[in-house]
Assembly symmetry: C2
Homo-oligomer: 381 residues x 2
């Protein structure tokens, strides 16, 4: 190939901001550089790479031979919509446990597709009640499927998916877990949690770049869903059949994002797997929490429910605190934090995930202290 043109090629001169967000996140240099290739989507080399990625994903969930993995083009929501619209039969009925915006989004999807659904809604600062789940399943035998979000990024709360899974198993229902923000950082044993479908995305705790979601599916359950899909693009069963058949995607895959993801998976293993990565994120969280509390900020969730993916902090009760200004001053210093998403409380969020280490977190904490001073806001007595 002749690489003639070189317009505005400033790629190597950038120093990007540290992303303390729920994702897309900072990724490693080698992960990004894995994208410096041109590969045909139907070429043997790419087919081998996809196979390798799919098998490593099943391994991350301790899935063994009972599970398969399916890559779906688009964002995480595309993956959630793929599952919800591909595996519930016409006469099925869904129960969604909701305690945040991502549970609500599942409800929005099934409403558009007119899938019969009931919800168990809990306030955003508490986890759905396992006993209420049991009672609902007991009282409504028409329910065939149960869905819940593992880490509600709305608040950072961690829902007890294993406890729910045991109840869902008792009632022999099909169980979906949206583990978008947690997979790769919290150990999840698919079998122990009785998960039939787990959904996550390329740009979260595996530390790849955005471009696709992936689904870990129990083969025995998935096998029965032929013909259930309500779309062509998001047809989970057909996507699986294509990948299992000749190893190709039905439609053009995000080749470069998959190349980056393979590298990211290797780096996750090198780091020591999910436990080690979760450990690093937990340290990021602990440094954040203790420094923020020392500065006078209050976390939104009680400590029982807090996870180490992302933390919501109340806006300080200070007359001149202006979040937009706080955000922009931090951004100027090279740190991106995240606005809140709560319906009833003014909060902002700080993420602990992505290629960030203690030093980066300490950098953010110092920057927050400096910015508060600049804004003439004194929080601690």
């Amino acid at each position: 190939m002749i690489l003639g043109l070189d317009v505005l090629d400033t790629s190597s001169t950038h120093k990007d901001k540290a992303l303390f967000t729920p994702g897309p996140l900072n990724t490693s240099g080698p992960t990004k550089r894995a994208m410096l290739r041109d590969l045909g989507s139907r070429d043997d080399e790419f087919i081998r790479i996809v196979k390798d990625v799919r098998s490593r994903l099943v391994g991350l969930g301790d899935g063994h031979e009972e599970y398969t993995s399916i890559i779906m083009q688009g964002s995480g929501t595309f993956g959630v919509e793929a599952v919800l619209t591909s595996v519930i039969p016409q006469d099925g009925k869904l129960l969604i446990l909701i305690n945040g915006a991502y549970g609500e989004r599942m409800l929005k999807i099934v409403n558009i597709h007119r899938i019969p659904t009931v919800v168990l809604r809990t306030p955003e600062d508490t986890v759905p009640d396992a006993e209420a789940l049991r009672e609902t399943l007991q009282s409504d035998p028409a329910i065939t499927h149960v869905a819940v979000v593992h880490c509600e990024t709305t608040t950072g709360i961690i829902n007890p998916i294993e406890e729910y899974g045991k109840i869902v198993r008792e009632f022999k229902r099909v169980y979906f877990v949206d583990a978008m923000s947690s997979f790769g950082a919290y150990p999840i044993d698919l079998n122990a949690c009785n998960i039939d479908y787990l959904i996550s995305s390329s740009n979260k705790c595996i530390e790849g770049v955005p471009g696709f979601s992936f689904i870990l599916a129990k083969i025995e359950t998935l096998k029965k869903t032929e013909g259930y899909a309500r779309t062509l693009s998001l047809d989970l069963y057909s996507q699986w059949k294509g990948l299992e058949g000749d190893g190709q995607f039905r439609f053009t895959p995000p080749i470069h994002a998959i190349l980056a993801f393979r590298q990211a998976l290797l780096e996750l293993e090198k780091e020591g797997g999910v436990t080690a990565r979760g450990g690093r994120y937990k340290r990021n969280y602990e440094i954040t929490l203790s420094a923020m509390e020392a500065m006078g900020f209050k976390p939104y969730l009680s400590s029982d429910y807090r996870g180490y993916i992302i933390t919501s902090f109340y806006y300080p009760a200070h007359p001149i605190f202006d979040f937009r200004r706080f955000y922009e001053l931090l951004s100027e210093k090279g740190f991106l934090i995240y606005p809140g998403k709560l319906s009833h409380a003014d909060c902002f969020r700080i993420g602990h995930v992505g290629r960030l280490h203690s030093a980066d977190v300490k950098g953010l904490m110092s920057a927050i202290a400096v910015v508060l001073k600049k804004m003439k806001i004194k929080l601690t007595e």
Copy 2:
């Protein structure tokens, strides 16, 4: 950021194959290197980049202020499904002009969504008949929308979208053009062709990497479609509203693919725009055709219908020609060609698009000559 790990970082040592396919295609070095960044999807810098990309796309279609552009996560088919399922009302009826696999795919989509549809099917080696279109619109006033593929990659045929557009305008129907493989290489004047929705993708003639499709839409038509969408992820109207509102995507965008695409758009302009790029592809086509004919290969389409995106050639009428072996021997030499997709004839395809120049094409032609010799196949008398 600390970029500690450096596992298997072989990115810079690769020499990739030349992709004579319909896409994903070869891209320039700077286009790939534009992905070496970590950007927040809600950060101002990224929002500005998206705005810039969207406005350049409208410019490429001479869209002026009557048109807008919408980026949709996923492959080209996701974009086609987004349009077909987002803009036809419940009481609408679609007419599809079909002369290849991509027309058939549109039919498959609308059948899944149970959208009332009629088809005008023509053999794969001829273009849909404009008079038949007129008669169908005349005889069936229930038809509200008309869809056609510009370049049917099945064969490489170019359908006369401007001629159809004039008829669709007479009957005041809404007009979709799937210009997946042609946009950026064939000049398309959206107004002159009376196009309401044009769909293309990031990894075709703009020479970006795969990751999204984009839709150029006539604002006046799009505005009337609120609430029509049959999915959440592929809801074209809401996607547009989001991008027009705070400039953000509703769901995580493929940031890196968009960064590469912006660079690819700059390079397209630098090359001299659509006319110059089309000129380069046409030269690639002419070199291919004359060398292939000299070696004894016959193109599938008559010259009236052939475009310069991709050419279908018959398998040679030689007893020992084996396409798989032919493909693999070329692949070993660093050239990827493409299998056929015809229902009734044995063909293979050679693409002319992507970052390939005359020297690359001549390289492929020499390789084909060598491979034929190695296979002991003599085609010319």
